[in-house]
Every structure is written in C-alpha cells, then in structure tokens.
Amino acid sequence: MLSSDDITALGLTLRLALISTLMLLVLGTPLAWWLAHTRARCKPVVDALIALPLVLPPTVLGFYLLLALGPEGPVGAALEGLGGAPLAFTFAGLVIGSVVYSLPFVVQPLQDTFARIGTRPLEVAATLGAGPADRWRHVILPLARPGYLTAAVLGFAHTLGEFGVVLMIGGNIPGRTQVVSVAIYDHVEALDYASAHMLAALLLGVSFALLLGVYWRNRRWRLAVAGS
C-alpha cells in the first residue's frame, strides 16, 4: 500500500506542475510574442538559449542550477545580498528549476502560434477601434487558444515527469521537495518494487485523466465556435 509520504509526494508534484505551468504561461507569453515578431539580429541567439534545456541532460541542468543557486553562484549570491533565503532544497527552488527546464516546451508552441497569427488581425482590430488590451483579449487570445493549450499541456506534463533537475536541487525533503518521480526512484533503489509500481500507476492515471479532461474541453470549445 502507498504510504502517506507517497500521497504527499503526489500532491506536491501536482502543485509544482500547476504553479510552474502558470508561471511559464505568464512569462512565456511576452517572450514568445517578441520572438515571433522581432527582427533583431540577436533572435537566433535567444532561440538557441531557450532551446538549451531540450538539449542538456536534466541532471546537467540541475547541477548547474545547484551551483548557481549556491552561495557562491550568481543567483544565490545576489539573493543573499538582498537578504533573502537560499533557494536550494525549497519548493520555490523547484519552481525555478521547473520553469527553466520546461521553458522551451511552453515558449516554442506559443511562438509558433503567434507567428502564424501574424500582425494582420491586430491591425484590423486597431482599425476597428480596439485598443491594445482589447486586441489581446478579443483577438490574440482566442486565436491563440490552441497554442496555449499545447503549451500548457506540454509544460504541465513535462514538469510532472521531471526527475533529473529535482534530483539535483531538491534534497528529497518529504512534503517540500520530494516529488513523485524521485519517490518512485527511491522505491526502486530500495528494491521496493511494489510501491514503485503503485506510485507510477497512480501518477500515470492522474496525468492521463487531466490531459483527457483538457483535450475534451478543447474539443467542445472548437465545436461550439464552428457551429455558430
């Protein structure tokens, strides 16, 4: 049977995925917008930087995050200078790690969607009297909804399964940084395969149910618009 630690880990993991995804959607939107429309020379550099988490092994990424967040690292030192607490071994630290790790999974679909929409719908909306905020709410967001859905699902799923990064900077603290992937790994390492199987099945089940719910909702939205 699953221990209470395992259930806690599941709740923690879902919370981490949700918060990270929301943050990524908020941060990723202006970034993706800029990338979709800029003609700056440095665009390829930014594109490559954003794609880096795709290429780096997660443990490598986690390792450099560990160094960066440490008291001698750029982030850690700055934080300490401002009187803040260190981020390693904290939930906040995991969120930061997840945001970096899942960044391309959110930014790239949004970027593609924005590029596809182009600037014409915005110009049309402006000539019809819509100000910047209205253009966003009534033109861009509805048109970009499929892109947002993809970005949210990818970001969420990617964070749910995150292991290497959390392993490196989490410290495996139950209730704070022990996520399901690490818990499953621990069970395997301790030869407790029964718990490992059960926890893995639970994670899969929850994830599948969530994804199914989201895609189904999207289908209903699309049918609603088409029928009008």
Partner: protein, 355 residues
C-alpha cells in the same frame, strides 16, 4: 471638412512624401504603379505605420507635430487587400466587432441598413472560412462601415478577386458615397477601377504625389500617366433625361451636348457618370452622316501628345469637359490637328458608371 494630408513616411531606403487634400465627400482615388508607396500611405493614414507631418480629417487632427493619435482612436474604417476576417468569430460577430469600441455618444451605424446595402443577409449564418473571396471582402467592408467611420480607407480591395467578383464589388462600392455620406480613399494600381469609382484623383509615383485634382482633369491631362495608358479614358458627368425602351437607349445630357448609351433598363433621371475610352473616340472634321456611330459631338482640340507605335493622344474640350481620343499620327497631320481646331468626336462606346 476637407481631408488634408502632408505626411513623410520612412520606408526602407527612401521616404514617401505625400501632400494633397481630398474633398469631404465622394471617392478619392490614389493611383500609381506598384511600389509607388500607395499602401504605405494608407497605412500611415491609418496609424499603422509611423509617420511625420500632418493629417487632418475635417476638424479632427490625427497627426501633427505635437500629437499622434494612435490607430485605434482614429475613427476610420479600413479594408485591406486580403479580407482578413477574424476566423474565431462568425460572420455576424465579425460585422459587429467594431461596434463595441465606439466612443461614447457616437451614434452606432444601422446594422440592418449596412447588411442590406451590401447584400449580406444570406451570409450571416455562414462560417467565415466558407466564404468566397468576394463575399469575404463584402463582409470586411460591412465590418468597417459598421464602425461608423469618418472616412473609409481601401487598399486595393479588388486585387484578389476575379473579373466578375470585381465588377460586383465595384458596384457595391460605387453606391456607398451617396448612400452613407462617407468619404472613401481608394488606393489602386488598376486604372479601370479608378476610372470607375473616383470623383477626385491623386497620382502617386516613386513616393511622391505628382498631381491631385478632380478626376477628369487628371485623367485627360496628357503629361500625366493615366492619359498615356493604353486604357486611357475620360469621365464625363451628365444627367439622365430619358429612356427609349424600344431601342434600349438612355439619353444623357451634358455640357457638350447629348449622348446615347445602351442600357437594359431605364435609369432614374438624375446625375450620372460616363466612361469614354480614348481608343473608342475617333475624330472627323465634318459631322458624318449615315454612320453606325450614335454619338457624335462637337469639340475643340486643346492638346496633343505622341503615343507609342505611330499613335497620338488628343485632348479635346467638349463643352468644358475633357475628352481623349487616340488617333494615328498620320491622321493628325492629314487633318491638321492642333490646339484650337474644331472637330467632331465620334464616340463608339459609352459606358455608364454607377451614379
């Protein structure tokens, strides 16, 4: 209530400099070859492209040295080359889109009236992605009009359409100025569109306005591009005074006399515009009898200019209105055509334009 434009728009390696005024009513066409800067001008007027200078529509200043009104606060409507309908909205929601953003106190346009005017009733239930090009442009037009603009800007709206759709849409466009009392600024590189619609003409070339004025004055001015075109034409304003149903001919009276135009139905008596192509006009020194050409009017030669391949374009004054004729150079010398020479203009075909 005139529209005053004096804009400099940076554009790649050179800048567009447009300066002209347009009347507060009717259609002002901006004509020029591709690359002349027409679209840039329109976008700058809409506020979609940064520009310097002055732009005034009636008493409202949209651009000056001290103020630049952002695009969404300019009460204009714009129809782009591609229909650009919102794919996430139905046809009706597209039409009504701009009505949400009207400034307080502004009287909204009559929805029913616009829908009827543009023949959109049958399209309201349709999906945006199932409309043809012509239908989409009509919806785009309706959408822009329903926003109660002070001026309607059109950027070559017929480019993407085939001949039949073009004619159809031109018909709708022609009806607008009178029906809605709204100035149109129509940009095009197609002379026939310009001839068909414009009351006022602005010529643009390589980023400069080279002439602006009433349409027929510019069309018949021999040193300007329209008169040198193969499809050069004149636009005569007159008044329909009668209809012969047996021969299906409309009688039009104008300052230079009377003209007969074939039309399948009787037109209501009233003001009308006629298009007469230069190549449909030949010249004689005497009034010919026993000829199949119905329209022969007296005129005076005012100007001549050599055209390609042994041809010559002649400008005529016909009761104060300009007319063009294209004749051979030999005829010019044989008939001794020169400014001041009285002649008869034989007009082979007269096309009725939308009133």
């Amino acid at each position: 209530m005139t529209i005053a434009i004096d804009l400099t728009v940076p554009r790649g390696t050179f800048a567009l400099q447009a300066r002209f005024t347009a009347p507060p009513r009717g259609v002002t066409a901006v004509y020029g070859p591709s690359g002349a800067g027409k679209t840039t001008l329109l976008r700058a007027m809409a506020g979609l492209q940064p520009a310097q200078g002055e732009l005034r529509v009636g008493e409202v200043i949209w651009q000056s040295d001290s103020v630049v009104v952002p695009a969404h606060r300019r009460e204009l409507g714009m129809v782009f080359q591609e229909p650009s309908l919102f794919t996430h909205l139905s046809v009706e929601d597209n039409l009504r889109f701009g009505q949400r953003y009207l400034p307080p106190g502004k009287q909204p346009a009559d929805y029913r009236e616009i829908v009827t005017l543009l023949g959109l009733e049958g399209l309201l239930e349709r999906r945006v992605d199932r409309l043809s090009g012509g239908e989409s442009q009509r919806v785009a037009l309706g959408r822009a009009l329903l926003r109660s603009p002070r001026i309607l800007l059109l950027d070559e709206p017929l480019t993407a359409l085939d001949r039949a759709r073009k004619r159809e849409l031109l018909g709708y466009l022609g009806a607008l100025p009178q029906a809605l009392d709204l100035p149109l600024l129509y940009v095009s590189h197609a002379l026939d569109e310009v001839v068909g619609l414009a009351d006022h003409l602005v010529l643009l070339n390589e980023g400069r306005t080279i002439a602006a004025g009433p349409v027929n004055d510019l069309l018949t001015q021999l040193d300007l591009p329209p008169a040198q075109d193969a499809d050069a034409a004149a636009v005569i304003t007159g008044e329909t005074v009668g209809y012969d149903s047996a021969d299906q001919l409309s009688r039009i009276r104008f300052d230079g006399g009377e003209l007969l135009a074939t039309s399948s139905t009787a037109l209501p008596n009233g003001p009308v515009k006629l298009r007469i192509l230069a190549r449909d006009v030949s010249l004689t020194l005497d009034h010919q009898q026993h000829t199949s050409i119905l329209n022969i009017v007296p005129a005076t030669v005012t100007d001549l200019r050599a055209a390609e391949a042994g041809q010559c374009t002649v400008r005529l004054d016909c009761g104060g209105q300009g007319l063009l004729a294209r004749v051979s150079r030999r005829s010019v010398s044989e008939l001794e055509l020169q400014p001041g020479r009285p002649v008869f203009a034989q007009i082979k075909a007269v096309a009725l334009l939308q009133p």
